[in-house]
């Protein structure tokens, strides 16, 4: 029974981290920027939703407000910071440092405004429990996390392959030089991508704290798992990032059956390192 419960919990967290990985992968594949500040956008969105709820806004308005704020922040980071650095021919390392700096600024602002303590973030109906049989239980929040993030994954797949903007984003990722000379305007596309990825990361950014609470430094561990999922899944593969995030989370969860909790992250990443030795391009590298 414990194994089944761990499996279900793994799917819940895996789906949430899957969208962090998908959104991070979208940004990296298109802009080639290692957007560490994405962790800051993820964390900030939870705080915005929490604040709006506390000020009496209904949950849907609070969530939409958080998505709008994250979208604007993502577009701002690209338009004001990364695009300027690119125009000045900054190296990848310089852009990475700028991104790390942005993350630190966001985290510090959140800590200054909301304190560094864990804030409880709950919805009245969030802890309603569903029994799936065999003593396996899921809360309403967990169920919503799975449904919303799986729907978001489906939405991203449809957007990427079924809309002109989605295809333009894939085109810019595939050949940025050609994109420039056939008037796809890659710099503008980069801003759209950053805005879309920031809106996407809001979904787990709001739903995960409903289960675990809010803290300004919460975003870094999910981003680490997301980065590994992106690489192991094959950079540029949306499905690869999503599936591998679930696999990694399941590995971490199921390992609890055999080893103490403090070892689970280390063991999971050891498996990842061994996997990359045998398949360095990632599992879904060719299936974009």
């Amino acid at each position: 029974m414990l194994a089944l419960q761990l499996l279900c919990n793994g799917i819940v967290t895996g789906c949430a981290l899957g969208i962090v990985a998908v959104s991070f992968s979208l940004v990296y594949a298109t802009t080639k920027i290692f957007h560490v500040a994405h962790a800051g956008v993820y964390t900030m969105s939870g705080y915005v939703a929490w604040s709006l709820l506390r000020h009496g806004f209904p949950a849907p308005i609070a969530f939409v407000g958080a998505i709008a704020a994250a979208t604007a922040l993502g577009a701002l980071i690209q338009g004001v910071l990364y695009a300027r650095l690119e125009r000045r021919r900054a190296t990848h390392l310089v852009v990475l440092i700028a991104s790390l700096g942005t993350l630190a600024v966001i985290q510090n602002i959140l800590a200054a405004v909301f304190t560094a303590n864990i804030l409880q973030f709950e919805l009245p109906w969030g802890s309603q429990v569903f029994h799936l049989g065999g003593n396996v239980r899921l809360t309403m929040t967990q169920l919503l996390t799975v449904l919303v993030n799986v729907a978001a994954y489906g939405g991203v797949m449809w957007f990427s392959h079924g809309t002109i903007l989605g295809k333009q984003i894939r085109a810019v990722a595939s050949n940025p030089f050609l994109a420039e000379i056939v008037r796809l305007q890659p710099r503008r596309v980069h801003i759209y991508v950053m805005a879309i990825a920031s809106a996407l990361v809001c979904l787990p950014g709001i739903l995960v704290p409903l289960d675990f609470g809010l803290q300004p430094y919460n975003g870094v561990t999910p981003l680490l798992t997301a980065t590994i999922a992106m690489i192991a899944g094959g950079v540029g593969s949306i499905t690869g990032a999503f599936v591998l995030a679930i696999v990694i989370t399941e590995l971490q969860n199921m390992s609890l059956l055999f080893i103490p909790g403090e070892w689970s992250i280390g063991v999971t990443f050891f498996i990842f390192v061994v996997f990359m030795l045998f398949r360095p391009t990632g599992l879904f590298a060719a299936a974009r």
């Binding site: 295809k167 333009q168 050609l178 994109a179 000379i181």
Partner: protein, 231 residues
């Protein structure tokens, strides 16, 4: 004149690669732009396209000075480049390649819309759903040419289009370029190492050496001269 360069000087950063490059081309005229590697041909094309900012001189397109326009604005005017070896989006299907470029470049009354492209290259219609990067070199080059001419191209610059192609394919592709240029009064600048094939379709030949023009004449004059001494 469709395209005119007046004493163009350009390069990378502080390094000047081409200087005092001047020529003008009429609508429908095909220029074979020749020279050894590093002679400055690609630098000239990139400057015309707006990818490099000239340090001196003028670039006139249909009488308008386009030297300070963005790449996107130049493309909108009809300046097109088929780049060397990377003219497709390899991770997209053929249909997706064509549709993304058409969405940004094909307007009402465009010279080449999507159906025109599939009529010009029927094999691309057959391979619509194929991932572009998995096609043969010849088919990839047909797709690259299609992407370069979608919309209303008025000056097409081709940078080493024959690289990696079988000789019969090169000949066929060059004939298609010539037919398109003549039927649509489109000017072409053809940078090519396959000198014989380029001269077959060209109306004019310019040879560059060390960033300067060392020969400017028609193909017969080029053939009659001590051609290889310019290299």
């Amino acid at each position: 004149m469709m395209l005119a360069l007046n004493a163009l000087e350009s390069g990378y950063g502080a390094k000047t690669v081409v200087s005092n490059v001047s020529f003008s081309l009429a609508p429908g005229q095909i220029l074979a732009f020749l020279g050894h590697n590093g002679a400055g041909k690609t630098t000239t094309l990139k400057s015309i396209m707006g990818l490099l900012r000239p340090t001196a001189g003028e670039i006139l397109f249909d009488g308008q000075n386009i030297g300070r326009l963005s790449v996107a604005d130049r493309v909108a005017l009809g300046v097109r480049l088929l780049p060397e070896g990377r003219g497709i989006f390899p991770d997209l299907t053929v249909a997706e390649n064509v549709s993304v470029v058409a969405a940004r470049n094909v307007g009402a009354g465009a010279m080449f819309d999507v159906p025109d492209i599939y009529k010009l290259f029927p094999v691309l219609a057959e391979r619509r759903d194929t991932r572009a990067g998995s096609m043969s070199g010849g088919q990839q080059q047909m797709l690259a040419l299609s992407l370069a001419i979608l919309g209303t191209p008025r000056c097409l610059m081709l940078d080493e289009p024959s690289i990696g192609l079988a000789p019969n394919l090169v000949e066929r592709m060059f004939e298609q370029v010539r037919d398109v240029c003549k039927s649509h009064a489109m000017t072409a600048v053809l940078v090519e190492q396959n000198v014989a094939a380029a001269m077959k379709i060209a109306d004019r030949v310019i040879i560059m050496n060390s960033g300067r023009i060392v020969f400017d004449g028609d193909p017969d004059e080029a053939r009659a001269s001590n051609f290889w001494s310019y290299y």
